[in-house]
Amino acid sequence: MTKLFPVKVTVNGKVYERQVESRLLLSDFLRHDLGLMGTHVGCEHGMCGACTVIFDGEPVRSCLIFAVQANGHEIKTVESLGTPEHMHPLQEAFHEKHGLQCGFCTPGVLMTVVPFLEQNPNPTEDEIREAIDGNICRCTGYEKIVESVQEAAKKMSSGD
């Protein structure tokens, strides 16, 4: 019989307890076991960044962590940011500046940029480009993503 391991994890402030196979990836755990489909799965080997989530405050690839390793840890996914009615300033900026087209890479980009702007509230364009260099976008050519992050930095530092 398949061996199962207990996982107790806090996701977006809510505690979940589940039994998982050791081989279950954190990305699949979030989507399939917890039903949090906001985290997207692209390449599943750490190249594309679509599955980026915040693990104990740090942006990481959820496809390169096993769910069992999240036991006792705290995770934030894109669902923690805002709702369609009350968007996070970063989401508002992406909305206004057309920072997404198909939207597949967007959750990963957002979860990379949230901790980045906390550490660096007034980034230069070069710093923004470096911060998002681990997130592949095939639609925007990155121009609109950079503009969105600049707009978000403005909004967030002025407290809008």
Binding site: S22, R23, P59, R61, V68
Partner: protein, 292 residues
Amino acid sequence: MKPVQFDYYVPASVDEALDTLAELGYNGKVLAGGQSLIAAMNFRMARPAALVDLNNISELSYIKPAEDGGLAIGTMTRVYQVEHDAEVIKRFPLIPEVTHFIGHTQIRRRGTFGGAIAHADPSGQLPAIAMVMNAKCLIRGKGKERWVDAKDLIIGPFMTVIEYEEMLTEVVLPANPPRTGSSYQQVARQNGGYALAAVTSVVTLDDKDRCESVRMILMGVGEMPILSEKVSDLLVGQEANDELFKEIGEAVQPEIDPANDLNGTAEYRRDLIRVLVSRSLNTAFDRAKKGS
């Protein structure tokens, strides 16, 4: 893109991990940051029967002064922590210079310093950097331990002298002599991508600005990172000189064996080495003169 089934152990101490590894023998595999191993498992290129996860062993995450004036880095210290550590930046500026090029910020926050070295990826930066810095590696097994120089640790692509029941627990970066400068130079197709070619060098100067000793590693141009032998013959006793650096870029050509692939031809990689050798030595000399 899902791993095969495996058994999973998550020890809370080094002793417990070594006991587990001893019991598992050939079936056991150490899981550090997992940024290479889990990707290989997702592809099913790696199919370990059991993983021994070191992520709950806090005693393996540290940066502290070593006896000889260098720094000792615990194997599970995240690359990002090493990259941003004030002592590391002050004493070994080569480290932040190199780590900047490793993967992306998300990878460096999870990936570990020791894991990257023990993984011995021939395209990885840290195994080559450990070699050029003359790092000493502490390998522990149940009831035993041994020190191995980084250059003797890695014996082939993804192959080290670490046995199944052992693990790398600490990497010591020895103190550099005064008037030592270092440099890492690479060309890659994109940020965070593997280097098409890279050169790293560490140069120590005498009080007349002549090269006293030099170590230079050529990367991406052979099966493994190549420690150049030619460079010492030509450079020791000499002052910085652009013509000489060009000559060295030429002289190392027989030492390398670059491949043709879709990212670049062998000929192009040879040209890159010519340019990067000059850049790397120039920069290392300048830094050595400033005493960094």
